[in-house]
Structures are given as C-alpha cells and as structure tokens.
Symmetry: C2
Subunit: 136 residues, 2 copies
Amino acid sequence: MLSKKTQYAFHALIYLAEHVDKGPVLISEIAEKKNISIKFLENILLELKNAGVLGSKKGKGGGYYLLKPPKEVMLARIIRLLDGPIALLPCVSLNYYEKCSNCDETICGLHEVMAKVRDATLKILENKSLKDIVHR
Amino acid sequence: MLSKKTQYAFHALIYLAEHVDKGPVLISEIAEKKNISIKFLENILLELKNAGVLGSKKGKGGGYYLLKPPKEVMLARIIRLLDGPIALLPCVSLNYYEKCSNCDETICGLHEVMAKVRDATLKILENKSLKDIVHR
DNA sequence: TATTTAATCTACCGTTTTTATAGGAAATAT
DNA sequence: ATATTTCCTATAAAAACGGTAGATTAAATA
C-alpha cells in the first residue's frame, strides 16, 4: 500500500494539474479542498519542490506550481520519491536494489515471479502521468 | 514492499514444498536452512497453521507440513494473509476495501489507474502457486 | 508411567516508520 | 513597515516491524 504521504501527494498534484494555468496555488487552498492536514501537506510539497517536481513562490500571490506540464510527470516518479521502491522485494527493485540474504537469485522462483509483478506494475505507472489522472 | 514476515513465510513454504513427501518438518530445521530467527519463524508458521495453510504435529517426529499440494497454494493468498492488501490504495482493494476520504471514486483517475495495477498484479499472483516457485 | 520432544500460546520489548504538529526564519508583495 | 506565505528544523504520538521469553500442551517412546 502507498503511504498517506504519497496518497496526499497525488491528490495535491492532481489539484495543481487542474489549476496549471492559474499561477501559484496556496498550500492552504489545496489542504482545504483535498481535506489534508495543512502542516503535513507543507512538508510533502516542500519535498516535491526539493526533488524538482514543483516550483514555489513566497509572499503574497505565492504558492506552489508544477514545473512541467502534467503529461510529463509520471506516477512512478512520485511513488519512488516519497515511498521508495515499487517492487515487492528488494532483490527485484530497479531503483532500490538489495541482494537477498537467504536465497540465490539465479535459482529463486520467487525472484522470477516478483520481477514479473514489477514489470507489469511499472508498465502502467511509468506510462501514466498526472494528465491521465486529473478529474474529467 | 513485502514485510520480512511474508518474505520468510515464502522461503519456509518453499522449503516445505520441496520436502512435501517427507512428513512433518521441524521449525528449527527450516529456520537453520533458510537463515531465519527461529522464534520469529515460530510465530509465522503458527499464523499459517491457524489460517489453514499448514498442518502441524506435536512431539517427537512432529513439525509442520503443507495441508494442500503446492500447486494449490497461491501466492496472493499468502501475501493477503500476512501483509494484508495487495492493492496500492485502500479504495481499490478487493479484500480490504475502504472508502476514500478525500475523493469521489467515480471520477477519480487515480482510482482507475491503481485498479489497473491491482489487476495486473493479481493476474500473476493469483495464478502462481508454491509449485511455481520451488527451486529447480 | 515418566521422560523427552516439539508445537502452542500469550505476552512483551526495542527500534523504526509513519503521521502528523509547532514555531520561528526568510523571502516577497504592497 | 506590514502582511503574507513558503522554508526549515525540531518534536512527538502512534503504529508497525522484527524479534524474544517462558510457560503450557500434546504426542511419542522407553
């Protein structure tokens, strides 16, 4: 399961994608509309900013905004950023790989199945963007 | 990611599947061969027994054994048993469904994508059994 | 029947992660 | 100046994770 953090991030990003041409959006506005704790959301948006997903502006008329068009922000990127690995096992993770301590990957059937799951998942998440999940 | 608990469970079940016709297997034997803390493994196997996956026998000559042939024990079942939901969001979980607090599922694009991920994952995990992951 | 073996059960414990919250500093607009 | 809003760091409660301890129960066997 995705953490609350990542779930909130998606809702906030959807909101920003929907208001993409209206300049910076207040944290407080997103928090209210999406029913998220404002202080928690503050941390999340800051993290997204430091990762290069969002831009921000301080002071009156300030807020957060997407740095790229929604169609270029892939869902897999957001998940990896906030939740870490998408794979079900460390030994099949592409971005957070760790060697198994108690099995030999070359003969481990579990490894093979979990790699399949990873591929099926990534095929979707790496090809779906914010544009694909905004409300229609 | 799967918890250590579920990962250990898989390794233990693989071991039991490999020794399926040799009667009950000691916890201590599995723990040693698979390099798992014996007390932790004890809890895991007990949980699998209470869920009807394993049988057990006390006393000398005792141990744990599979109640069904390996090909009938599906990977999805084990994960759900020990880790809970397989889906990435509560609102797309088939077995642990919970309503979204901050979105309307009928218009939520995220919901739709995550349902796709769930289906792709389940297509694999509900059709792969212990038999498919024993060492060849 | 006594002994040994091995699962069963309940409870507990320490660490890390998660989910926040608090408050002041820094930047910007007016 | 002042009001606004993000930035940053620290803290904290709660839950999850990973593992331990020890007494109990059941079965085999000598």
